[in-house]
């Protein structure tokens, strides 16, 4: 249990270090980091998907049916989860580039939280769950719990951070005035980065302008809060998936050696 925590810490430091790199270097270092993050997120989510599928198949198929093998999830599932993993890590990396220090602290707090959740859940489930399914199930429970706690922290911190003042501005002029230069070298990434900045600006604008008149701006509040919750939880979810993915990778290795030994 200690080794994944060390690895999680290493990955966290890697991300932090990468976000502090100067522009050009960061652009080049992004690709391997993106690949690594994709692999980790994929590991966790693929494992969870396989577990889900197996439970579902066990409900309907006979134990001896060869369909277990056919339907347990193959290339389509892999491709789908790889795509999800790549997009989530991309979103996370883009957000990490311009993350406030306070949010880095939240992410750092996530490390012991995840480790503690993994350990305590594992202890709790020991007497009730089949040993071969236990680690996967522990991780399955850890992700939503950790995401809930960290998203709540994320929201509190984000809302208490300073924002550019866009009260009373049109959305249009708010975007034109406050959209910042993007630092990426690669044009599509630059575009995405700016898209993300615009998203952030939009939600800030919606929240700030929804504060004024409650009777008029109910819609704006809905837009602002849903954008805030969606982007925040997607970011935290990707991060937690990434960290849990490390655990899954180690566990699979252990499981594989266990299987081979037995």
């Amino acid at each position: 249990m200690q080794r994944p925590l060390v690895f999680n810490l290493a990955i966290f430091l890697l991300l932090l270090g990468w976000s502090l790199l100067p522009g050009v270097l960061r652009g080049w270092a992004m690709l391997p980091l993106w690949i690594a993050c994709t692999a980790l997120v994929f590991t966790g989510s693929f494992e969870a998907a396989r577990l889900r599928r197996r439970v579902w198949l066990d409900q309907y198929l006979l134990a001896a049916s060869p369909w277990h093998r056919v339907l347990r999830g193959g290339s389509v599932m892999i491709a789908w989860h790889l795509l999800i993993g790549a997009l989530l890590s991309l979103f996370m990396l883009i957000k990490l580039q311009s993350l406030a220090v306070a949010l880095w602290v939240v992410l750092a707090l996530g490390l012991p939280l995840i480790a503690w959740l993994l350990r305590s859940l594992s202890g709790r489930l020991q007497k009730h769950v089949l040993p071969q399914a236990r680690p996967a199930l522990v991780r399955r429970f850890t992700v939503p719990l950790a995401v809930c706690v960290l998203t709540a922290l994320y929201l509190v911190v984000t809302l208490s951070l300073g924002q550019p003042d866009v009260r009373g501005l049109n959305w249009d002029s708010a975007v034109t005035q406050h959209l910042q230069q993007s630092s990426s070298q690669f044009a599509p990434l630059r575009f995405l980065e700016r898209l993300y900045m615009m998203l952030e600006l939009t939600l800030q604008w919606a929240l700030q302008n929804a504060l004024g008149g409650t009777e008029r701006n109910g819609g704006l509040a809905v837009v602002g809060w849903s954008l805030l919750l969606l982007s925040g939880s997607a970011f935290i979810w990707a991060y937690v998936r990434l960290m849990v993915g490390v655990d899954a990778l180690f566990s699979q290795r252990r499981g594989a050696s266990l299987q081979e030994l037995s």
């Binding site: 993993g85 599509p188 990434l189």
Partner: protein, 388 residues
Amino acid sequence: MKAGAMKNGSIRRVALLFMAAVAVCAVLLALNVGYRLLSKQLADNRVFAVLVDDQRLLLDGKTLDAFNADLQRLGISHQASLEQQMNAWVDQWLDDTFVLALDAVPGYMDWYYSMPGSYTRLYYAISGDLDAALRERLESHLLVQSGFEQRLADFDRALTRQLHGILGEQGQALRQALVQRYSDRQVELAEPKIDARQVIDVNAALDRAFGASAGDIQRWQISSQASVVAGVGSFALLARHAILPRLMRLGSVQAARQVIAGFAARLAPRMAGAVTIGGSAAAVAAPTGPSALVAGGIAFATAAGTIVITDFALLKAEEAVMREDQERQLHDELVVFRESTRDQLQAQLQAAFGPAGESYRRGVGGIEDETRAKRQFHILDQWRFWDA
């Protein structure tokens, strides 16, 4: 067994990394293709043909915007320099014109105090219309013979010629500057085939703009001639109707006139006396007959001649004192008049350049509107998505 498991595990991890790399590359590729497609769709790949200075520049949308901005900027600065140049020209023209009259003043003075001049004045003083005669002389000397009046009459034509000259030069310079600046920023097209709707005729618009502002200046010329010189119909009449009365009212001119008029007045009773003396002498010497007339005539001529010659010497001495004064005052008055005319003319020109500049901006702004109508607007450009 364990070694096999380790090997299996590491193979799986390599496979995982490989798959992740493939996935990342696929996403990156898709992003790239999507970005390319999007930017191609949204970027201004339409080519505009700009007609300027007998040339056709092929510019894309972004360059066209820059071209337009340059055109506006250069156009406004040219308009400002046009105003400056015209003001300088009017200054110079006024100086040159009044120099003609000023140079004629000593000549007039020479005549005034010459023998023929003096006798002419004496003649008119006695015959009674001294004022009109002096006025006529002054006009003929200072205004007509010097060419001053002719030059004033030519003001309109000279101004128009100058204005068109400067406008032509400036238009040419503006066009050349634009062509020079943008000829190497053109789009390379294998087969330049431009839609007629994508053609922007800067030449025509510039001609319109310059023409409109020239028209404003000319309208001003027509309307201002009355106001510049307060009530005289045309600039040509300025000299006759405004300068001459002022010169005639001058103190020293009047004083000089008074001297000769006074002389004539003093002369009159003595001349009358001479006439009576001649008459009575004739009456005494010969009561009747034609010889009496002859004798009387001789007596009159002698008397009148003596009076005229002695008193005239006195008159010349009196007048000589005044000559310098009169010359100086004439000169000063002309200079004062020149300056007041300059002020009025400059103020009027200033007022005329207001609408002229406005017309010009409208004309050049027409290109902007025309371009804007032909250009597409991109919201993402507005948010600086594609550049920077």
